[in-house]
């Protein structure tokens, strides 16, 4: 199993060189590496080598092989994509890639606040910039993704209120709902609040009649999964608070240059996904979740995540950073902690901080305004195609909207495959999850789309339908 003098030592395993290995064995008084496995009973030891393909030991062979596999993908750079639904095609500034590719960040992990001061400061700054976007004082070191953030926010609300019923807007994606239901089991129940079929907004009357003394929280999303901005948020927050429930809002941070920050309309726990802030789509591998509250110990002590705070050091004028209220966490007290904490998505948090620092106040406003204008233009273009309906056209949208192609006599799937033949990923087929909308397609428009892109989509859709 070990290298001999004629096989080259693997570049990742320096001590596999026979002379080194022998010297180390001699030093510890062992005759072979097998001796070191004495505690593993013979009947549990493998007798055959692992059944895996032969090694690609040279970097050249490895690159050729893996790039060969990846070349079978058609990326959104090669086609025109309007896919969103939680994973968004935003421009990723070069500086974001530069910072998160730096080995000093990429290969650090869990050092102390001193030799890893930079990681602590960068994450404190991330939280601080998110805090400005949300107008909230407490933001976690990111959890895995926005789904986890929603699910944990609801569990936090249940612990704070001691209540077990969660009202969740039905204008939520099926995958996120699946995650929430699974994560809230077995103690907590989920009840859906319907959305108004005319506006796409959550039905306020339904909320009024559903909320009660067992309601721990109301979870809203704005914009909703279907792209609609919830406008009756103050009313809904008042209703929820009137019943002693908390308001949890999942928000898209890329919209907060134009949409009112959740804290201002009474949200107790804000949450969402950071992918729009400087992460590539990465086939869904670029997600990180944020959870934020005001600085109320009752809320703060329910966070499972690490929270990095600022403090003084023994040197005057020096900032130190460290864990706030660490005793909450499962790292400190195992199952007595709040849910659990572990490795999640810190580097994406740092990246989101870089993104917000690059964009600044004006950038976030221009991003939001630009997406709203392009989206409204696209709604107008697509909505004017015969047979294509935009169910919630009069409502406010930022970067996504639904079209219903049932009026063309074609299914959403047929229309999308027609567009793909023309080099366009036209949107997400929602006919299975939202059949009440006919043959719905969720279309995403961001700052990366030009007028020519939107015109091309409209023309191609016209062709496919015509």
């Amino acid at each position: 199993m070990s290298s001999t003098d004629d096989t080259p030592v693997h570049p990742y395993i320096p001590n596999a060189a026979p002379a080194t290995r022998d010297a180390m064995l001699r030093a510890i008084g062992a005759s072979s590496v097998q001796d070191l496995y004495a505690d593993i009973p013979v009947h549990l030891r493998m007798t055959e080598p692992l059944d895996v393909p032969p090694a690609l030991r040279s970097e050249a062979e490895l690159v050729r092989h893996v790039e060969g596999l990846l070349s079978r993908n058609t990326s959104t750079r090669e086609v025109l994509s309007f896919l969103g639904a939680g994973c968004y095609p935003h421009h990723v500034p070069a500086v974001c890639d530069e910072v998160n590719s730096r080995a000093e960040f990429l290969t650090a992990y869990a050092g102390e606040p001193y030799e890893d001061h930079g990681r602590f400061q960068a994450l404190f700054e991330y939280a601080s910039m998110m805090g400005e976007l949300l107008e909230m004082d407490v933001v976690n070191v990111p959890t895995y993704d926005g789904f986890q953030a929603s699910a944990t926010a609801l569990r936090m609300a249940a612990r704070i209120t001691g209540r077990t019923e969660m009202l969740v807007t039905a204008a939520i994606g099926p995958d996120e709902l699946s995650k929430i239901r699974g994560y809230l089991a077995p103690e907590l129940a989920v009840e859906l609040l319907p959305f108004d079929p005319a506006t796409g907004e959550t039905d306020v009357d339904a909320l009024r009649s559903a909320v009660g003394e067992r309601t721990g929280a109301v979870l809203l999303k704005t914009p909703t999964f279907l792209g609609v901005v919830e406008t009756r948020v103050d009313e809904m927050a008042t209703i929820a608070h009137g019943a002693g429930a908390l308001v949890v809002a999942s928000v898209d941070p890329s919209t907060l240059g134009v949409l009112r920050p959740p804290a201002a309309w009474g949200v107790d726990i804000a949450c969402g996904d950071l992918q729009p802030l400087g992460m590539h789509q990465l086939y869904g591998g670029g997600h990180a979740g944020f959870i934020a509250t005001q600085d109320d110990p009752r809320l703060v002590m329910e966070f499972p995540s690490r929270l990095f705070g600022i403090t003084s050091t023994r040197v005057e004028g020096e900032y130190g950073f460290g864990d706030v209220a660490y005793e909450r966490t499962s790292f400190a007290v195992r199952e007595e902690g709040k849910e659990w904490v572990g490795t999640a998505a810190a580097l994406w948090g740092i990246t989101a901080g870089v993104y917000l620092a690059l964009m600044g106040p004006r950038g976030m406003v221009e991003l939001g305004e630009g997406m709203m204008a392009r989206t409204r233009y696209a709604i107008g273009r697509l909505g004017s195609i015969p047979g294509v309906r935009v169910p919630f056209a009069p409502s406010h949208h930022v970067k996504e909207f639904v079209i219903d192609v049932a009026g063309t006599g074609r299914s959403a799937a047929t229309v999308l495959s027609g567009l793909l033949e023309r080099g366009i990923l036209g949107g997400v087929d929602l006919s299975a999850s939202f059949p009440e909308l006919g043959q719905p397609v969720l279309v995403c428009v961001t700052e990366v789309h030009t007028k020519a892109d939107l015109d091309r989509l409209a023309e191609a859709l016209g062709e496919v339908i015509g």
């Binding site: 180390m24 062992a30 106040p361």
Partner: protein, 530 residues
């Protein structure tokens, strides 16, 4: 040539202990670097034709949902953003800079650069998870191939790559265990058994999923107590969640008996394989009878730790548990790869989409570069390195390796500085911080400290013999310092980016501040220039 020159040439030999000082930039918080009007990047402008046709829809938002004041973010030119983060990056000590053996249980091995390059390919970076499978055959094939490799390594029948990290994988396993018992109408099982030397997330995830947690402590030899397990296993047992080797680096040779006892009580057994680096190609989860296992792709399989994620977890299960895997699975019919969402018994979603794709690519590439012999060589070298380092460390007066005295360890050792601490009053944490003054560091251990004044070292396969010698020499030097000048060690670090924190404000609700805005408000700085 002057006399002075002759004394300094040729260069004298290096001192035995490295003269190190970390970068110390004394960098302000980014808000303090703000300059009104500066811009870092510009979003594309909306074309005038759209502007003319549409106007400004943001202005039409009703007041209760319209932001009136732009967010109070800092304003910086691009160079200043880059420079700020470049400086902060230099104030970290990751694998590429130090002999990172001090972060035991975390497998701080080298992450190959070529794999980072592959993971950054636009063929992956700009791929959307809902694209038609005809346009994603490459990544689907990589996912499918990685599943086959992990099956071979563990002996399990199916894998999901969906969990975002190791703890998320533990949780996914618990969720599958819960669904399995529910599917059989076996409702009374409300307890999960774990061990104190298994990662805290085993206990914490089980509790989150609604279970009462029973924790086994070690017997006199350091093995999880078999009698305690026999007493705990019952008709209430849903599962055993256990690590092996445990965080002590001691392999539990009776592991299959543990599994059998729980199976006989009707429970399932899940193997936390975060500590798999020393046993690749040596022993497998399935061979010890486990029903489920999980790997941390960012540990054993080399994906970078990234300041604490993005990571990746992978759960393996037997055929019997396969129906409960998260959706979707990746299927191959001999000609094409596809995602299968039609799995009615599935626990549903653990995270969005299908997993942390860039790390799936990295882990696949890492295994592909090693093959069967290479993987075995990784394990053997990790174990050799560990036993070599143990040999060196135990020669330092004041340190011990509790339990299993005189026996070999697998991939890591949990040491104790109890003797040195009793002698000098210097705590293990102080020693780890002093090590940072010499360009490395160590982490004590997970709580609770069953091993007093702990230090957990895991040298992996990546470090050379000279690295291990240097690391041991630094520990010896620091221990000597503790005897000679305890205050010097207790006030460390002295050569890091910053000095010791005042901890008081971090635990005081009146003063803690998780954001700059909270700090300025609580410190009464709002409205004042800094």
């Amino acid at each position: 040539m002057s006399g002075e020159d002759r004394r300094t040439w040729p260069v004298a030999a290096k001192p035995p202990i490295r003269r190190y000082h970390q970068a110390r930039w004394d960098e302000p918080v980014i808000f303090e670097l703000s300059q009104p009007g500066a811009r870092g990047v510009l979003p594309p402008e909306v074309e005038s034709e759209i502007r003319e046709a549409i106007g400004d829809p943001a202005a039409a938002l009703p007041p209760q949902v319209r932001r009136t004041d732009p967010p109070a973010l800092p304003e910086l030119a691009q160079l200043h953003v880059v420079r700020h983060y470049a400086r902060l990056s230099q104030e970290n000590l990751g694998v590429d800079l130090n002999i990172d053996v001090g972060q035991g249980t975390c497998t701080m091995k080298y992450s190959p650069k070529v794999n980072d390059q592959l993971a950054r390919s636009p063929k992956l970076a700009d791929l959307h998870p809902l694209q038609d499978a005809s346009t994603t055959q490459g990544i689907l094939e990589i996912m499918w191939r990685l599943e086959q490799l992990l099956k071979a390594i563990s002996g399990m029948d199916r894998f999901t790559l969906q969990p975002g990290a190791g703890s998320a994988a533990i949780y996914a396993n618990v969720a599958m265990i819960r669904a399995y018992h529910a599917s059989r109408g076996d409702e009374g099982r409300d307890e999960v058994i774990t061990t104190i030397f298994s990662h805290p997330s085993n206990a914490a995830c089980a509790k989150t999923a609604g279970y009462r947690v029973i924790t086994l402590y070690p017997d006199a030899d350091g093995y999880p107590d078999l009698e305690a397990l026999e007493a705990a296993a019952s008709e209430r047992t849903a599962a055993l969640l256990i690590t092996n080797p445990e965080d002590t680096g001691i392999f539990n040779p009776r592991i299959d008996r543990f599994v059998r006892i729980v199976h006989e009580a009707g429970g399932l057994c899940a193997y936390d394989q975060a500590n798999a680096n020393g046993i690749l190609g040596v022993t497998r989860a399935r061979d010890a009878g486990f029903d489920l296992c999980h790997f941390n792709l960012h540990k054993t399989f080399s994906t970078p730790h990234a300041c604490g994620g993005p990571a990746a977890g992978a759960c393996g299960v037997t055929e019997e548990l396969a129906p409960f895997l998260p959706v979707p699975t990746v299927e191959f019919d001999g000609s094409a790869y596809r995602l299968d969402h039609d799995r009615p018994s599935s626990i549903g979603k653990i995270r969005p989409w299908y997993g942390v794709a860039p790390n799936i690519v990295r882990a696949y590439a890492w295994i592909a570069s090693l093959g069967a012999e290479g993987l075995r060589e990784v394990a053997e070298t990790a174990v050799l390195n560990n036993n070599y380092l143990m040999h060196r460390v135990l020669q330092i007066p004041g340190v011990s390796a509790p339990y299993a005295e005189g026996r070999r360890r697998v991939e890591q050792v949990r040491y104790s500085w109890e003797r040195l601490s009793a002698e000098t009053g210097v705590r293990s944490e102080d020693l780890g911080l002093r090590a940072a003054d010499f360009g490395t560091h160590y982490w004590t251990s997970h709580h609770p400290w069953v091993v007093p004044e702990p230090m957990t070292l895991e040298p992996t396969e990546s470090y050379s013999m000279a690295d291990l010698d240097e690391y041991a020499a630094i520990l010896r030097h620091v221990a000597d310092e503790a005897r000679a000048d305890a205050d010097l060690v207790r006030s460390a670090p002295h050569a890091s980016a910053v000095h010791r924190n005042d901890h008081g404000p971090l635990d005081d609700p009146e003063r803690w501040a998780v954001t700059w805005r909270a700090y300025r408000r609580k410190a009464g700085l709002d409205g004042k220039a800094r």
